[in-house]
């Protein structure tokens, strides 16, 4: 996701501020992890111990939860996140070709990012747009009935934005 850097506030302060305002029951753990990722784009490994302390869990338990869910990242994403659907419906409409095209254009593999650090490329298994496949999501924007040519246009548009 696109992050706005706030001068003077580093990621660790943001995490700590979230951890002082969230609930402390284990049931509040996923919402807290979401809040952290929404704020800084990932869940820093060095904060796992802080999170564990707040929820009265072991570090292993927190690490277990963070690593279980595909949505949570432990490394910072590039400026923009591209998710390409690889599920059956999109496969039936050329998702494999679209993915190969995206890899070529960005010069990276799945779970990787382009050299300039502009785009992270991730797979996703269904965006619920199956009647208008193939679908992708760039940051929080959905796009359906996608072709390689339209993909290029979208990338160019995102690149041209400030």
């Amino acid at each position: 996701m696109k992050q706005d850097a706030v001068p003077g506030i580093d990621a660790s302060d943001k995490v700590k501020s979230i951890l002082t305002s969230c609930g402390t029951d284990q049931a509040d753990l996923l919402p807290a992890l979401h809040a952290i990722q929404d704020a800084i784009g990932f869940i820093p490994t060095e904060n796992v111990a802080d999170i564990a302390r707040v929820f009265n869990l072991s570090r292993a338990e927190v690490h277990g939860v963070v690593s279980f869910y595909h949505y949570f990242r432990v490394t910072p994403p590039a400026k923009h996140l591209i998710q390409i659907c690889r599920a059956e419906s999109c496969l039936s409409m050329g998702a494999e070709g679209l993915l190969a095209h995206a890899k070529k254009i960005l010069g990276c593999d799945l779970h990787g990012q382009d050299k300039a650090g502009n785009f992270s490329l991730e797979p996703v298994y269904c965006l619920g747009q199956c009647a208008t496949s193939p679908a992708i999501m760039i940051d929080d924007k959905l796009h359906a009935k996608l072709t390689p040519a339209r993909f290029d246009k979208l990338i160019a548009k995102v690149r041209s934005e400030p």
Binding site: A27, H70, A87, S92, G128, L142
Partner: protein
Amino acid sequence: MTIRIFVPRDSTAIALGADDVSSAIAAEASRRQLDVQIVRNGTRGLLWLEPLVEVETAEGRVGYGEVEVDDVTALFEAGFHLGPCTHSASIGLVEEFPYLKKQERLTFARSGITDPVSLPDYEAHGGYQGLRRALTLEGAAIVDILIESGLRGRGGAAFPTGIKWKTVLNAAAQQKYVVCNADEGDSGTFADRVIMEGDPFVLIEGMTIAAIAVGASKGYIYVRSEYPHAIATLKQAIASAYEHGYLGSNVLGSGKHFDLEVFKGAGAYICGEETALLESLEGKRGVVRAKPPLPAIEGLFGKPSVINNVLSLASVPVILAKGASFYKDFGMGRSRGTLPIQLAGNIKHGGLIETAFGITLREVLYDFGGGSASGRPIKAVQVGGPLGSYLPESEWDTPLDYEAFSALWAVLGHGGIVVHDDTADMAKLARYAMEFCAIESCGKCTPCRIGSTRGVEVIDKIIENKDRPQQIVLLRDLCDVMFNGSLCAMGGMTPYPVLSALKHFPQDFGQRPGDERPV
């Protein structure tokens, strides 16, 4: 007079440019100094036509399909805001459009018609009549109506909803929960999303009725993180329901208490399995629980819990409002009521088709779907999601009915249909099913965790023609272990797509027709 123009806010419409179209219409209307009100409705389910813009006229609502920003000026020039016009995007009166007219909309009666987050709109279209009736009844009487209606779980397992509720009702506990499974992760399904984005109050009403029936005071809607639009719409609707006394400590002045919140998942397919979902709600890894105990006895936080799919809960209000026999009169055999079919993949007219059980697959594919999107022959159809069987043409005359599909070693599931044309390589799709299982397995049971990885390797060898006959025997044995030895449907049903692909399309696995054994 104010002209009302409808531009859907459904995420498929948005993915195809509806937000920009809506802005363009507003700008053009303002330039022409016209009094136009834009309503952001849900989708009608004619998804291939999105963005489907509708204009309210004296004759009814007139639709314009696949509208792009560049079409907007021309639409005004053609006078689309004044009444039916001849613009090429016109599909005429939407209610008369055959794809829609042939349907029987019960659960989706309001989708596409109303403003999804307008409570007055919901009430004006029959909303909350079910809850009002439920509030006059004892819990047991509500449960009896559900049992009588024949409603079976629409999430895929088709377990009778009323029986589930009865178990929770009869379980003695201080605290009970109602949990909605909105972790719609199966490819080819989007009906839950369409409800959440297009008519969220019907889900809220259904959950409130469930809570009153079984004596629960707290509910959660577990929505996948891939559905940000659904989450936003639900939150808006829930806030409105609280504000107007439909949720909270005194539901419609009845003295009953029901709190409801949205819980966001985090990209784990397995959390669509009910016990993994409960673990996730409790803040843990989404690892499947062994059953028994059933969630109805020991569910969320160890308390008796109703856990139902979005569509099951969204079907409850109409059953309460119009009665069990009204609902039961639709359908065939033991499949009563209507099924929201989701037609997807390589299909010309993909969308949502709600109709009584009993329609055949061929009617869905051709009468509604219009054949493949590519124009090539349809080769295989996967019904019921990634864990459903692939059906060849010889099986397309099967009626959509739970039992008829079981008899074919297939699953009707949630009615999601993904179409593949003749360029599909079924061995690759079988490999994909194993790969998906390996990626998404929760890891608790060995057949699923290890079996899926071995499955990918074995299918790779079959594709590469390394010891092919032996590997095919091995693949069958492996599927047998996964089918019989897995803890839940993830590992247990992955053999359905794999073995059905092998059975019906042996040539894609380098076999001659006739080499195959019955599954």
